[in-house]
Amino acid sequence: MPATRREIFDRVRAGPALFAGIPGAEVDIDRLAAHLAARGFNAGVYASDDHLEGVLWIQDGTPQDTWYFEAGGEEALLPMVPGHHLLRDLAARGGAVSVHIGTLPQAADLTADVEPAPDSPFAPPGVAPEGLVVPRPSTTAAPVFAAEPAGTGHAGPLPHLAPPAQEAALDTAASEVQPGLPSIAIPEPPPHPWPAILSDVSARVARLRGPRLASLFLGALDKALAGYGGQVHGDRIEAPVLPESAWRAIVEAACSPIVAIAGRAFMDRTIAAAERSVQEDRVAGGGAP
């Protein structure tokens, strides 16, 4: 049974929030989106005020669709202002900003409740722009990643903030949209063996920066895991099966005490080295790489 964007959006919002309720005036949406994309989060950046709600999806290192709803409204709106400009305006007007971990659904799981833009390849002939287009019910599934009007990838400052690879991805997304051909939603990559990696990270931090910092790391990890039903027992990390995006949020939270002292570069190198070590151990032990 295909779900509306509203249903999908509410489902994601009910899940874990990276942070919530930050006053929009204090948040630079472009920088936030670029940061989340660069860190590999699959998430929705949500902003709202009394009249409007909007969400910018970050997926696989790239900012994707932007959805808008009237406050509490069931159906998605297509604003005149394309892309995430309106989201930025929402935040600037003092709306609250939250980031929720979640992934965009498969194309088949989504109903098309958005009126296509007049200049979009999906627009029927003769549709004129008149402000916010009131959505109409439809039973036809629309391409998930093709809802943005053409050219929105270049509209805002986000591509300039994003790494070149992301800019290229946006260009490709804009140019490869074909009418009637639903694009394929990219599934999440296979999860990393995060418990083993984080255990190795803890050992490396203890060796290089002392057991005190390692225990701060494990404490933060335990706290972060608690929200997902996991925990740390001594040096052992127990966690249920979690999606990659959830793990990234956990790792980000757990590493914050180390980043605060030793820095981001040290942390990134340590995680990379731990990951290599775990993979090598698996290969040496005859397990899957």
């Binding site: 002392g210 005190r212 701060l216 605060a260 002292i261 820095g263 040290f266 340590t270």
Partner: protein, 258 residues
């Protein structure tokens, strides 16, 4: 192993140079001039090495990393001392002043202590939650006790004398600052104890110990007109800055080793 011998040769040459410059007395006029020149070069080269070591450590971090600021400030401190020593030497050789004190160079020496204290304060702010309260108090007590001993036995007669205000202030400031840098260097060493990162900070604390002893000796010797460029006490400055440089290079290695 291939890259280790140049370091060993450099260390051997440094030890020989320090021993020749500060380990002998008397000799012919040529000998004394040679030792004076060598001592001057060492007094400029050692803090320069420390500055390079601290800058190398800072470069091992990414922009915005808190400890990058710590080591960059340490590098600025060591380079300020280098500038002060160069000005001191210039005053001696071309300014025709045997021992210019106080002089413009002292402005740089004061800047060194302030910057090094700032660097350590930045680091302490980061690691303080990892150091128990009792240890913090013990370290503070160590600093106060060291300063009190230095004050009673060396500084008090200078401070209460009728000499000019500036020499008295400087004579009190240098050892006071240096003595409190010892426990300040030990705080991160204790915070990271058990980890490789503790050793660079032990080197920094040892450097502060050498600088404190040298400062107290310098204050005492200048007060009794016994100080000279080739006096053995100067070896402590050189050793102190070499240790500070080692701390920087070591931290770079730890930061990049992972």
């Amino acid at each position: 192993m291939k890259r280790r011998w140049p370091v060993l040769v450099a260390a051997g040459l440094l030890v020989a140079a320090v021993a020749y410059a500060y380990g002998f007395e008397g000799g012919s006029l040529q000998d004394r001039v040679a030792r004076h020149v060598l001592a001057t070069v060492l007094q400029v080269a050692a803090p320069l090495l420390a500055g390079i070591g601290c800058a190398a450590a800072a470069r091992a971090y990414a922009r915005g990393d808190p400890e990058r600021r710590v080591w960059a400030t340490g590098a600025a401190a060591a380079l300020a001392w280098t500038a002060g020593r160069a000005i001191f030497a210039f005053d001696q050789w071309w300014g025709q002043r045997a021992l210019p004190y106080p002089s413009v160079a002292d402005g740089f020496f004061v800047a060194f202590y302030i910057l090094l204290a700032a660097a350590l304060a930045l680091e302490i702010r980061l690691v303080l939650p990892m150091v128990d309260r009792s240890i913090r108090l013990a370290l503070f007590g160590l600093g106060v006790a060291g300063w009190a001993v230095g004050f009673v036995y060396i500084l008090e007669p200078i401070v209460v004398s009728s000499t000019g205000l500036m020499p008295r202030l400087l004579s009190a400031f240098y050892p006071t600052a240096a003595v409190f840098l010892i426990p300040a260097g030990l705080v991160p060493a204790i915070g990271f104890r058990g980890g490789l990162s503790a050793y660079p900070w032990l080197a920094v604390a040892a450097a502060a110990l050498c600088l404190a002893a040298a400062s107290l000796g310098y204050a005492l010797l200048t007060w009794y007109d016994l100080y000279s460029q080739v006096h053995g006490i100067n070896a402590l400055w050189v050793v102190g800055f070499v240790l500070l440089g080692l701390g920087g290079f070591w931290q770079k290695k730890v930061q990049e080793e992972v």
